[in-house]
Structure formats: structure tokens, C-alpha cells
Symmetry: C2
Subunit: 480 residues, 2 copies
């Protein structure tokens, strides 16, 4: 067993993050440049994220399908902005079955092009619309600088792709899917994301506009955690996707795409973690409860393990995900630290005194120390724990919301913006600047427009940068 200490967040948030990802066994480095091994504890977290999203997609009429990993190079070139956006990041298969390929195959960086080629075949009339598809898949982008979960050469994600008869329907879909992402982030991941529209400079390559959920990490940096794109008719025109409308006229479709990736694992780590390690929201935690049996000798062991077995049965029967730490040769104190580091929401301690008193100790991960610890009767344990998990889920969202709101500051001019950003906060102010203005600010402060939030003050103001009249506020921040 190595030392249990983790670098404190305040000292070096970046190192804290890397430490925690590997120490908590979420992932391991692989021998392939920029590719991560997602270990079981991290993969179960991803499975919970998948489950929460997939349920919402299906409830809104989307169906899963699977499209090829490989995309003929020529397909990518059909949509001009798209190919420009992705060209520098492509991994290309040139040899297969021992022979040089006539046309190289790109490993998908995203699947718009191959899916649009299929949509072209499948869509003939307005009766075929809307076409609402989703794919769970791996994608590859050859990134120069990678960070576990946040930016890796290969990552896992879902990509939704839909086609509609009108702009309005495509726009409604784009917004609906962003709402679904926000609902998942807030209610399952306990992350109070800000929803809004990306600036033209930051939008997806080939989109009319891009909506985003932006999450505030523990170091106050922003993390773009999910995006939804209204692609207009750009891909429909590039791939010739037309439908016969009710008046029997050929029309181009309107398409959308939207995605959330394993980056969400990084969001959960950085939004909730503290100096002791991970803090996982109960809805996503692989283990919601860890049971630590405590005994000094065999005489104590038997009755303790009897209670452990009974608690286990009752918790499992109630659908609560538990783990019993039976490891030999480790002190209870070591185990407490270990499971705090791994972010398990509730620790249940069962020792000889608990056997005597018919109680167990429950320690909350979201409230440190004695304040978060209580002794409760063994009776009706499942209901007690269930209530506690609900309370922890709500409290984690509340904590993250207080933190977020305390770190978004309204600014009226560039000096104020600079001050807020340099202090590590998010700056919100009226904006009417150009893409070049954004680029200047990025050069100066390494901060970007995260979004024009949907939640606008209303009315008009004066642009913080140009002094021109402005009709919307933007949020600036440094971001991952």
C-alpha cells in the first residue's frame, strides 16, 4: 500500500486531478499515446452516466444504432467547414489485409458524414421524418496534449443524429437534447451546469449554432460537458439529403447532432472532489455504501459478520449498490481513508459495540468529520440509507450551486473582466464584440466565451469590450 496522501487541490489542482484519477482506480495509463485504460471503477461510473442518458434518449423517441468505425476520406471532405475543423486530428488507416488501400480510411472523429450518407438512403418523404438516432461509440482525435478523461486520443461517447422537415423542428430538437443533458447533469451528476449558446467562434465545425452545458470545476475553470448542434441544411446539402414534402416538392432536410463523452467522468471528479479525494453523487456512484466490519479477534468477528451479512441482504434487496471491505491486514482507519478517497457516498461501520446496541454507524462523504456521522438502529436500515442517499445527492447539488453562484461575477468593462478571470472566476457581462475581439481576449487572458446563457437579464446594455450597444450577456472563463 502506497501513502494515502493526495496533493491538495489548493496546491496544484492539475496534479490533484491526475493523482485522484489514477489513485482512485478510475483509469490507468496505456502504452498507446494519449489513450486511457478505463478501469472497472471508472467504467462503472461511465455505465451509470450511459444509463442515465440512454433512458432519457429513449423516453424522447430516439433509437440506438451503430455505424462503421471507418469513414472514407472523401466523405469528410464534402462539408467544407467540417473537414477544416477535423483534418489536423485524424488517424488514418492506409494498410489493411496486408495491402495498401486505394482510398485511405479515417478512424471516425465524429460520425456526421457516414451517418448523413445513410440518412440520404433512408429518407424519401416527410413520412420518414423526424429520423431520431443515437450511437454509443468510440471516436479518435489525435490530440497533441491529453489529460485523462478530459482530452484523450480515443474516447467513448454518444452521438445523436437527427433529421427534420423544418428549421423549427430541428431547432426544437437541438434545444430538447441540451435540456436533457442539463437535466442529467443537475439531477444525476449533481452538477449545476449553465446552459447557453456558443459564440460563432466556438461552435461546432459545420453547425449553424451550438448549445452547451458548462460546468464549474473545483478550481473554477469551466468544462464544456455536452453540446447540441443545429446543423441547419449544411450537411443535408453536402450529402444531398432530400425529402418529398406534403405538396410533393423535394426539400433539403434540417439536421442536428449532439454528444456527451467520457469527459463527463472528469466533470464529476473535478466538480465534487476535495482534498481527501473523489466525492461521487449517489445516483452515479458504483458503490453507494461501503461496509467496513470492525473486530479485533475471532470472537468479535463472528457476531459482527452476522450483522454485516444481514445489512448486506437488506440493502441489496432495496437495490442499493454496496461493497464490503473484507481486506485482511488493513486498519479500519486506513479503509476509511481509502473509501473517502474513492468517493463512496456512505460508509457503514459495524463493530462489536454496534452488535451490542443493535446499531450501525453511518458516515457521510459530503459532510466531513463528526458532523456527518450518526449512529442509527439496524432496524429498517434500507429505508434509512435510501433517505440518506437522497439527502446526500441533494446536498451535493446544493454545495456545487452555492460554489458556482459565488464565483460568477457581473462585469461592466474589460478591467473588471480581467480582474475576475485572473482571480479564477467566471465573468458575465454585456457583449457585442466580434470573433476577433474574442480572440484578443483569449490571447490576453486565456479566457473564452463559454456561452451566451439562456438565462439572460433581458433588455439591453453596453458591450464590456467595445462600448457598443449589446442585447445579450456572455460568460467568460478559462476552460479545460
Amino acid at each position: 500500500m502506497a501513502s494515502q496522501a493526495v496533493v491538495p487541490q489548493s496546491e496544484d489542482f492539475s496534479r490533484w486531478y491526475n493523482d485522484i484519477v489514477y489513485r482512485a482506480d478510475l483509469a490507468a495509463q496505456s502504452p498507446v499515446r494519449g489513450c486511457l485504460i478505463i478501469k472497472p471503477y471508472g467504467y462503472e461510473l461511465w455505465e451509470a452516466i450511459k444509463g442515465g442518458l440512454d433512458r432519457r434518449f429513449k423516453a424522447t423517441g430516439h433509437q440506438n444504432a451503430y455505424f462503421p468505425l471507418f469513414i472514407p476520406e472523401s466523405f469528410l471532405k464534402r462539408e467544407a467547414e467540417h473537414v477544416e475543423g477535423f483534418s489536423p486530428e485524424l488517424a488514418v488507416v492506409t494498410i489493411a489485409g496486408g495491402k495498401q488501400l486505394e482510398e485511405p480510411l479515417v478512424v471516425r472523429p465524429t460520425s456526421e458524414t457516414i451517418i448523413m450518407e445513410a440518412f440520404k438512403e433512408w429518407i424519401q418523404s416527410y413520412r420518414d421524418l423526424p429520423l431520431l438516432m443515437n450511437q454509443w461509440a468510440n471516436v479518435v482525435r489525435w490530440e497533441m496534449r491529453t489529460r485523462p478523461f478530459l482530452r484523450t486520443t480515443e474516447f467513448l461517447w454518444q452521438e445523436g443524429h437527427t433529421a427534420h422537415a423544418t428549421y423549427d423542428e430541428a431547432e426544437a430538437e437541438t434545444r430538447q437534447m441540451l435540456d436533457i443533458y442539463a437535466d442529467f447533469a443537475v439531477n444525476d451528476a449533481a452538477i449545476p451546469v449553465v446552459t447557453g449558446r456558443k459564440s460563432d467562434r466556438e461552435k461546432f465545425a459545420g453547425a449553424l449554432h451550438t448549445y452547451t452545458i458548462e460546468a464549474m470545476m473545483g478550481d473554477k475553470k469551466a468544462l464544456q460537458s455536452g453540446t447540441s448542434h443545429n446543423l441547419g441544411q449544411n450537411f443535408a446539402k453536402a450529402f444531398d439529403i432530400k425529402y418529398l414534402d406534403t405538396s410533393n416538392e423535394l426539400q433539403y432536410c434540417w439536421t442536428t447532432s449532439w454528444g456527451v463523452s467520457t469527459r463527463m467522468v472528469g466533470a464529476v471528479v473535478m466538480a465534487h472532489g476535495d482534498d481527501k479525494g473523489l466525492r461521487l453523487p449517489p445516483k452515479l456512484a458504483p458503490y453507494q455504501v461501503v461496509i467496513v466490519p470492525i473486530f479485533r479477534n475471532e470472537a468479535e468477528q463472528a457476531p459482527v459478520m452476522e450483522v454485516v451479512a444481514r445489512m448486506k441482504m437488506e440493502l441489496i434487496a432495496a437495490g442499493i449498490r454496496i461493497h464490503i471491505d473484507n481486506r485482511d491486514g488493513l486498519t479500519p482507519g486506513f479503509k476509511y481513508n481509502d473509501w473517502e478517497m474513492r468517493g463512496v457516498p456512505v460508509r457503514m461501520e459495524i463493530g462489536p459495540k454496534d452488535v451490542e446496541k443493535g446499531s450501525v454507524a453511518l458516515a457521510r462523504r459530503d459532510i466531513p468529520g463528526k458532523e456527518g456521522k450518526q449512529f442509527v438502529p439496524q432496524e429498517n436500515i434500507a429505508i434509512r440509507v435510501q433517505d440518506l442517499l437522497v439527502e446526500i445527492q441533494a446536498n451535493m447539488l446544493a454545495q456545487a450551486t452555492v460554489f458556482r453562484d459565488a464565483n460568477i461575477h457581473d462585469v461592466t468593462n474589460y478591467d473588471e473582466l480581467r480582474e475576475v478571470v485572473l482571480a479564477g472566476g467566471w465573468a458575465r457581462g454585456w457583449w457585442a464584440g466580434s470573433g476577433e475581439d474574442e480572440a484578443r481576449i483569449k490571447d490576453d487572458l486565456a479566457a473564452t466565451i463559454r456561452c451566451f446563457p439562456f438565462d439572460q437579464p433581458g433588455g439591453n446594455g453596453v458591450c464590456l469590450f467595445t462600448g457598443q450597444p449589446a442585447n445579450q450577456v456572455a460568460i467568460f472563463a478559462r476552460a479545460y
Copy 2:
């Protein structure tokens, strides 16, 4: 709407299969050579297969993880038989991020090598064993001749990889996983597979031995539907995976791997389908019940749809997967044929007479015509349908078992074997031949040893080919 007719199985089983795969909307061809698009109806079938397997893996202590898509070329070369087995089929990335790679990256054809490299890091002592992992992933093998689901360049699968302290434990794991595959095939897919061991000639490249589940398709050909490999210490030695045993001595591990792929979708299609199309076992069917409302005018429509809505609510509440065919402009007869073609186990017809009588009609896909149709009260519909689904599941297994048993024939010499194989059956007989003998039979009859079945007659016999004493029977058949 195109014609509904499908080529009969008896006329051309191969064409029947391809017809059905595309017509039933399981899949579509893609513009990438040998790669399939798995459409929602096919993907939901795969999701049901995944669910059934994943539940069994987790119940036996396996954990899911995810390893990189790319494997450095040098890794594959470390295990001599392994690289020889896979070399001709590899797809290779040579360019990434706009540059020639120093070491080409192979798109994984299977992940033994990259996972063993990780196991080497993770395993130090006997306390780390057994290590029981599984991965759901896409893999790529550059096949010359492809067929939808059965053999595609890219396919989806799970690959389990485990490490153990002893040969016996590895062997027990290898057998356990084959038992799990058989349990899934029999109880979920209603396919009465034959379990057994592969001959040395047919085993996995790098394995000590390979176990297999072999399924009989509707044309009596065999389909290898899942395999489990005892890899001995071959990979542990190639990748230097050692552990300290309880006497503090370094030992090489014993490893296993096992996999089931989207090929299982093809198995379900070919094991159960008939001239009308698919027949899906209720446990795997995306829709277990399709409801077809019948009315001639608006006056009839309202009360019919009221019953439809009530039936829907009750069936969904009972967890039954249903679909309502509300399509305009199609006759009920057309819809019946369509859903028979798509293999939905139960069709529920609701018309004006049913409204009057408080009944619905239930038609079974597994029993054609009037014999499979009954009128039942609307009351307690969920229980009735649930019972019927259980009955259909059991009946499909029974039908497939009768078919299988009628087409496995005991043979005592090569003439008999030839006769059975040429007539399209499976031939079972004593075998003590060599790999060259197997090769000769393959050249002559295009038949191979599918397995040495676990279910052996016992005792000894005379080899059907060499006339030598033999201690086991083999099953020969033509295969996909």
C-alpha cells in the same frame, strides 16, 4: 412499400438470410467495404443479447473495463502463434495528426496483447488473483468475404480476459464461461447449442485449448456462436505476467479469454427464421407484442383506440415490450405480414368486434395460421400475454431442439460421414485422426470438426477415418 415476399429458405438459404437481414431492418449495407450499419431493430436485439450476457458476467464476479482501440504493432508480435493467426487480417493506422507514425498502430483484432501488457502492471501477488475482466468493444478483422453479422470487417463483441494462479483455476474459468454462453444461448436465445472442445487445428491462435458453443442453423450448417480459451501460460510468458505465490516465489499466471459477438444476431436469425421471415425469441425480441388496431371509419376508430390505449398501459406496466402499428394507408393484412416478417412473437389484433365482446385476438409467431390464434378476454391481459410469451420461448427452444436432434447422425466410417454431410446434416463419430486428416476431409467435403462434444458416449471406439482406437467422438459439419 416493396413486395413483401422473401426468397424461400429451401430455394436459397443464403439469399433468404441476406433478404431477411435487410428487409426486417436489422441492418443496412455501408459504403465501407465489409462494414455493416446495424439499424435500430438489429441494435435492440444486440442490446438484449448484451444485457443477458452482461448480467451473467457480473453475477460471476467479472468487471467491465475499456482498453485502447489501437495496439502497437510490436505487441502483437510477442506471441508467435497469435501474430501468425491474425497478421493477414489487420488494419493498420500509419498516419495520425498529419504525420507518419514511427510505430504503426494496429486496430485491435482482439485485445489479448494490450490487456496482457496492463495485467503485467496490475498483478504482483496472489492477492491480485483471480483478475476477472470483460470489455464490450468493436474489433476489426480485414475479411475477404463478408456476410452481414456472420463475418464483417468491423464487429461488436465482448471479450473477457482473466488471470489465475493455477492451471486448474484457469481451466475452471474457461469452462464456467462456456457454460454461461450455453445458458444464455439455450435460455435466452432458445438455441440448443452443442458444447465441446475444438480440435487443435481449429483452436484460437495462442490457446492451449478452445471450447465452443455450436448452433445448428435452419440449413443445418453449424455456426460457432461463442468460444472460451484456456491460454495456459503462453501470454503470461510472452508478456512477463508473474505473481508472488504464498511461498513468496515468482510464478507465471494462467490466463483465459472468451468472446461472443454480433454474430449471435445472425445465429438467432438463422436458427429460428422461416419462409415468412424472422422469428424472435420473446426474451430477446425488441418488441414482444405488436398491436394492430383495425377499423374502417372514424366511428369505429375511437372505441378501438380506447381499448388499444388500455391494453398498452397494462402491458407496459407489466414490463412487456410493445409496439402499436398506427401506420396510415396500410391494410391489416399487410401489417400482419410485415410483423411476421420482422419476427414479433405475439400479434394482438383489436377491432370493432373485440370492442363489443371485450376480447382481443392473439396470434403466435411460432405457430402459424389458425392453430396459433386465439381470442381472449381483455381482462388480465398482461398475465395472459406474459404466460403466452413464456410458452412461446419454451416452444421455440423445443422446436429447435427437435430439429437439431433429428439432424445429428452417428456414423462409423467415412462413407457414412460423407453421406450425412452431403445431405446437410451433422455427423458424429469416433475420431483419432490427425490435423492432416481433418484437412483432407475439409478439402473433400468442406466440413470440419465442430467440436469434441462434452456429452461423450463414454468408453472407446474405432476412428471413422483411420480405423485406429479412439477415445472420443467428434462432430463434423459444414459451417459458417
